[in-house]
Amino acid sequence: MKPKRIESINDFVIKFANVNGSGSASANELFARSILRMGVPVSPRNIFPSNIQGLPTWYEVRVTEKGWLGRRGGVDLMVAMNPQTWNQDIAEIEPGGYLFYDSTRPLPQSKFRDDINVIGMPLTDICNATYDDSRQRQLFKNIIYVGALAALLDMDAGAIAELIGEQYKGKEKLLKPNLNAMQMGRDYALAHLKCPIGLRVQRADAVGKKIFMEGNSAAALGAVYGGATVCAWYPITPSSSVAEAFERYCKRLRVDPETGKNKFAIVQAEDELASIGMVTGAGWNGARAFTATSGPGISLMTEFIGLAYFAEIPVTVIDVQRGGPSTGMPTRTQQADILSTAYASHGDTKHVLLFPEDPKECFEFTAQALDLADRLQTPVFVMTDLDIGMNTRLCDPLEWDDAKQYDRGKVMSAEELQAGKDFGRYLDLDGDGIPYRTYPGTHPTRGAYFTRGTTKDRYARYSEAGPDYVDNMQRLLKKFETAKTLVPKPLLSAALHPARFGVIYFGSTSPAMAEALDALAAQGIYVNALRVRAFPFQDEIADFVAAHSKVFVIEQNRDAQLKTLLVNEAHINPASLISVLHYDGTPITARFIVKEIAAVTAALNVRPLKKDKAA
């Protein structure tokens, strides 16, 4: 019996199973970008191990004319290039799906499934016949299969050629052979394989002005635009590329054209104890500074974070979240540092967190974090994750208003000090809990103070008196209230029909959530959705919960960390919240969210509304 064939235009998932270090990454990205060039949105994801060479790595591309950028789950076409992971890769293909593989060495029938469509191409033979050099054989094999896929998926070969042309502009030596390899693959497929298969890419106009960018690059660019001059970091996946991108952008955008000197300093510190210390020192001295790290780095930084909170020093931390300790799982995505950052450090502390949903918000929130840190004189965390940070994601173009000035916060100048303005480092002059500070070296006789953690009065004089301590701690709470008015507001997506249920979500869950809301509505299940974008939580969030009989809280961690924070800090009754938790290291999918929500609503006996009728 012939297997059925999945038929779909501009809506399918293709997954590449490769060996790490084989040069597949750039070929795979070329493939994804070619589809974008055809006006069809794609959402690619890297699934990679914690090593550089030899272990399996996957690249999953969701082709989605509707623009659903979350991970879908399931695979329609597997490009199986790694014998090591063959069995698991074959098992993952949807019934009626396709397998593309290197058929140079014959494989026994038992290695295949009879409910999928198998497409073999002797890639190794073709390469061996064409190239002498072993490295070339390996590299061009990747481009050859991209050419073959172009034929199989009925893609526009011109789009691929155009991209290859841009990539190797000025490097004629590389341009030609790459074009040839792509063409060779395409010609072979057209001549020997049945083209096209049931999956096809068709030109569309669904990409528009959107850009294709990694969240880490966007955060780095946000730091450039937001005026960061000092970056201190210690390498850790998935955050290293923030510092690396910052350096790249700075070399382009921050070198003084006249002197050739740098308006930035990047220090690769000896560890995270030092990177956060440097950021703290720079912030104390009035420069905008940031570090980028991930969970283990946050753990090491917590002592300093506490000091910066108590001593009221601007600090910006980009936390690209991943799984727990050690290596392996940690290079998969999670939203599991919510509590460890919100309450980082010893003593009574709480910190400002921002939750970007995509590269665009990584850019905006990083720039904003630098303003907030100066304004509030406190650590501010940009809570991104591996899914946003290390995958190229389609998003709206970045925007900047040239009229914008940096908010340097309350800094008393030499003139103000000279004029006799009352300076108390921890004195609340304006009633918003935020004191004034001075930069070191401002005035010969006024405004100097001795910075300590806790033991001080309003004028920064040494004091171990209880009332002074309490007074200061109360002011810090007031300052945290002020923070609520400054951080990004939650965004509501109202259902088309009045809804009993609500859903709260944040960060990288965003695209899966949008798709899930659409799918739920198609089933007649209407929910209002609130995307939380920052902590401390504004009153809108508690009001939203109060307005629904139950609210789902969608998170990518085991312990319902955001829910805990909501209960603790927004005084929400935990009985009104239902957790939907996804934490196996893969990005959350719309399918998962829909299944969980639909199961609960069914159990609570909610009759779906007829699609066209309001309740």
């Binding site: 974008l36 201190a232 002197t259 210390g277 020192g281 720079a282 103070y449 171990e464």
Partner: protein, 351 residues
């Protein structure tokens, strides 16, 4: 604890320096350390050095870690900003501060627990990076503030107040600093102000990582018989290789010595370090020989003091990073933000 401010009684005869300040203007709060603590003498030497150097007090930033030693920045230069940071982590905070404003003078004050135990990593790396600072290590061989535990600089065989003998090998911070690339390395004794004040002046004038290890007896926990960091022990075993006279410029030099008895080292800022030789063969410009000399004499139980090494043309971190002359903390959106037009180009390249 009560808070003490020093009565400011300006004596009319108090001498003013070139920038118009008396020595009192370089003082800070009254010390709360134990009477006789070596650390207080070091504070006095810092005050003297800054006054003699005609530094405006508010142009100094003083940073420290945690410990009795790290409390001292509150007791000198009361018109300077100070930062009592995290135990062992002064170097990173100072590095960041230095990056933010290259125009201030940076004093880092630390203890032996702070620098040789919990903070040995940061101590090592600030030396490597060549941060322009004066790093003062107030070395008493114990943790004063936590009441007398051995520190990592305690010599093997030295005895604690309770009679316990330390068996672990000591960390020699001077040798470490030399190995790690510090460009001005000295050792002194808190009780020898004559030696110490010029060494501090030379360090402040030095444009790179300057390190001074100062043996500073803890009278409460480490000044007894059997300690190698007591006043008596240090006086007996002090092997000074040279005596430093600091001259702000070559023109200012007013004392002549017979040829061969001195070495003159001109530093980058124009100041001159005139070293009167005590050990004629000692060459403070040779790092490798300095390391050997220290090791040899240490093995004999001698404490080598003086200016042990100087690299007069040192480069600092700002030079390595090729940073602009304007302090970062004075740059604003106009200088730092590439603007909307540049962003439009970046967007276009991401399609």
């Amino acid at each position: 604890m009560t808070y003490l401010t020093k009565p400011k009684l300006h004596h009319p005869t108090l001498q003013k320096n070139k920038v118009g300040y008396t020595r009192r203007d370089y003082e800070g709060k009254i010390s709360t350390l134990c009477a006789g603590c070596g650390h207080d003498s070091i504070s006095a030497s810092i005050i003297q050095a800054c006054w003699e150097l005609d530094i405006q007090p508010h142009r100094v930033a003083k940073l420290s870690g945690i410990g009795c030693s790290s409390k001292t920045p509150d007791y000198f230069l009361g018109n300077s900003h100070g930062f009592n940071s995290v135990h062992g982590r002064m170097p990173s905070v100072l590095t960041g501060a230095n990056l933010a404003n290259r125009e201030l003078i940076y004093l880092g004050v630390s203890g032996d627990g702070d620098s040789a135990s919990i903070g040995i990593g940061q101590f090592a790396h600030i030396m490597r990076r060549g941060v322009n600072l004066t790093y003062i290590l107030e070395n008493n061989g114990v943790y004063g503030l936590t009441k007398g535990q051995f520190s990592a600089t305690a010599d093997a065989g030295s005895k604690s107040k309770r009679g316990v003998v330390n068996r672990d090998a000591p960390v020699d911070t001077v040798s470490l600093a030399l190995q790690l690339g510090a460009t001005y390395v000295a050792r002194s004794f808190s009780g020898d102000k004559k030696q110490l004040v010029p060494l501090i002046k030379g360090a402040i004038a030095h444009q790179g990582a300057a390190f001074i290890d100062i043996v500073s007896p803890c009278v409460a926990f480490n000044n007894h018989e059997g300690s190698t960091k007591s006043y008596d022990y240090v006086r007996e075993h002090n092997d000074s290789v040279n005596r430093l006279d600091f001259w702000p410029t070559r023109d200012a030099i007013s004392i002549d010595y017979q040829a061969g008895a001195v070495i003159d080292v001109a530093q980058h800022d124009g100041s001159v370090l005139r070293l009167r030789k005590i050990h004629p063969e000692y060459d403070p410009l040779d790092r490798v020989k300095a390391l050997n000399y220290i090791a040899e004499h240490q093995a004999k139980g001698e404490l080598v003091t003086g200016l042990l090494y100087v690299h007069p043309d040192a480069e600092d971190l700002h030079a390595h990073l090729n940073t602009v002359d304007t302090p970062f903390n004075q740059l604003n959106a106009r200088e730092l933000c590439p603007g909307a037009a540049a962003l439009a180009k970046i967007n276009a390249a991401l399609r």
